[in-house]
């Protein structure tokens, strides 16, 4: 697929291709294991060049969220909830959240196709922490830490 010129950012082509497949990928440094987004040509933790892409579960904890009551996009009538989610592997992403979400909630990333090259990121609440789910064996403690850094440090 080719992107329209005004959308073109060669450093994120792979990220959005994965998103169109319903996958969430983050950069992961082969030298030190640090995960990062948005993508850069070096590791933010150890300066190694060319961090590789790695798929992640998309599970994370809400770091902050707000209810939007002002009209921003025509196709998105208020009220709605948006916020920052800290992925278990460390990086944070801004996305749409279910109504009633509060800080500390466990959520999982979903991609919603909208007919463009870049599907819309939104998060669902993690339903059940069952052993068969992708998040079943992950410890919940830490990712809800008060400083919000625990999850990132644990993952790197």
């Amino acid at each position: 697929m080719t992107e329209p010129a005004d959308l073109h950012d060669p450093t994120t082509t792979e990220f959005w291709a994965a998103a169109r497949d319903g996958r969430l990928i983050v950069q992961c440094c082969a030298a030190c294991g640090h995960h990062q987004l948005y993508p850069r040509p070096f590791c933010m933790a150890c300066d190694s060049p060319k961090p590789a892409w790695a798929e992640c579960s998309g599970v994370g904890t809400v770091y902050s969220c707000v209810q939007v009551l002002l009209p921003v996009h025509e196709e998105l009538p208020p009220p709605y909830t948006s916020g920052l989610v800290e992925l278990e592997v460390g990086p944070r992403l801004l996305g749409r959240l279910p109504a009633g979400t509060v800080i500390g909630d466990r959520v999982v990333a979903r991609w919603r196709p909208d007919g463009t090259e870049r599907p819309i990121l939104y998060f669902d609440h993690v339903s059940g922490e069952g052993a068969d789910g992708p998040v079943g064996r992950r410890p919940a403690a830490g990712s809800a830490g008060r400083t919000g850094t625990a999850a990132g440090e644990a993952a790197s």
Binding site: D6, L7, H8, D9, T12, W16, L37, Y38, Y63, S64, C65, V66, Q67, V68, L69, L70, P71, V72, H73, L76, Y80, S82, G83, L84, P91, R92, L93, L94, G95, R96, I103, G104, R118, I120, L121, R146, T147, G148, T149, G152
Partner: protein, 394 residues
């Protein structure tokens, strides 16, 4: 590094603010943005005992592409040192340090810092787009815009919500920031909002984004100002007592909210540390404080990050009234961005008010006894940039 050669006395350069002025404020129907900047510049120069011809350093943000070039043409100034750095609303605090460096390097002697905007009259920025829209293909366009947060309020709301979660800051404490500014604004005839205001009034105002309500947010006004930074020698000509610049620092931390690990701690930690160290003072030595109150969370974070209270206690400190008239740390003494004026960028007004208070020129709202040391903290972007200035009356 060792010091100066034996026998040669060290000459520490000294820097002064010798002229300050506001342009017309509020709703300005009879001036353009450049004419407002010019009116403020001429008044500040007159106060400084200087003329247009003396200006050899020009510091402008916004005011169009290549701001100092456009304003330089309008004023008829061809400077030896030019600076159009975009550091957001805190640019003018940043410019104070940039001017000091330029003066110390011999690149200029009379620095004019200026700003004007008619964004209330022109409605060039709606609440939806109070900052420039993200460029197609930018990180913001890809990773931020689809989430639908209004700018800038959505990002300040995220920070506010996190501060409430981490430290128990309440909406009433946030409201007390607006009330503090309003008590000062009631004594400032130039303030845009002067009606009496209670915490209950703020709490009852419409919720607009997350925890933030209408009265947690600054109004949009027209306005501008000018500040003259110069040498000790030139300061002798000033018509009003010169104010000394004793400390300065700047830093920035992030642009996108997902790139800041601790979203409730700002670059004021670093800029404040540098400014205190240069001035040889600490927060206990500060008589008045000029924080950047575009939204109620910001002065709370600045109190904490500049060492006036423990992290997390800024809301409580406001609620206790310490920054109100008669309090132990008068702050937002002009009325602040929340009540006095906020033409898109508020930084230059913080300097103007601090200088007037240190000279005893602040009229009905003059802090008594007259303050001797002021701390000014400009903020730019989405709590991205901070610059701290220490000013004294000698």
């Amino acid at each position: 590094m060792t010091g100066h050669p034996e026998g040669e006395p060290s000459k520490v350069p000294e820097f002064y603010i010798t002229g300050v002025a506001e342009s017309p404020l509020g709703h300005v129907a009879d001036q353009s943005e450049p004419s407002m900047a010019a009116l403020a510049a001429m008044e500040a120069l007159e106060e400084a005992g200087l003329t247009r011809a003396d200006v050899d350093g020009l510091f402008v943000n916004y005011m169009g592409e290549e701001g100092s070039v456009q304003v330089g043409e309008y004023l008829g100034v061809e400077p030896r040192h030019a600076d159009s750095s975009d550091l957001g609303g805190g640019s003018w605090e940043g410019f104070v340090g940039h001017a000091m460096a330029a003066i110390a390097a011999g690149q200029c002697e009379v620095a004019l810092l200026v700003y004007a905007s008619r964004q209330r009259s022109l409605r060039s920025r709606s609440r939806k787009h109070a900052t420039a829209p993200a460029l197609p293909g930018s990180i913001a366009a890809q990773f931020d815009v689809p989430a639908g947060l209004p700018l800038p309020i959505g990002h300040f709301a995220l920070i506010t919500a996190r501060h409430m979660y981490e430290y128990g800051t309440s909406e009433e404490q946030l409201a007390s920031v607006t009330v503090t500014g309003r008590e000062w604004a009631r004594m400032n005839p130039k303030a845009w909002r002067r009606a009496p205001l209670t915490v209950q009034d703020v709490m009852a105002s419409d919720r607009v984004c997350g925890p933030l309500k209408k009265l947690d947010c600054c109004p949009i006004t027209d306005g501008g100002g000018a500040v003259i930074v110069t040498t000790a020698d030139r300061a002798r000509r000033a018509g009003r007592p010169p104010v000394a610049i004793r400390g300065w620092g700047e830093s920035h931390t992030h642009w996108h909210p997902h790139q800041r690990r601790d979203l409730t701690t700002t670059a004021a930690v670093a800029s404040g540390r540098a400014a205190y160290e240069m001035a040889g003072i600490g927060p206990e030595d500060v008589d008045i404080f000029q924080p950047y109150d575009a939204f109620t969370i910001t002065p709370i974070l600045q109190l904490e990050d500049l060492g006036f209270c423990q992290k997390g206690m800024g809301g409580e400190m406001f609620a206790q009234g310490h920054m109100k008239p008669g309090g132990r740390l008068p702050a937002m003494t002009s009325g602040g961005g929340l009540s006095y004026t906020h033409p898109g960028a508020f930084g230059i007004f913080l300097l103007i008010e601090a200088v007037r208070q240190l000279r005893g020129d602040a009229g009905e709202r003059q802090v008594a006894p007259k303050p001797r040391t002021a701390l000014v903290n400009g903020i730019g972007g989405l709590l991205s940039y901070s610059s701290t200035v220490v000013l004294t009356d000698d």
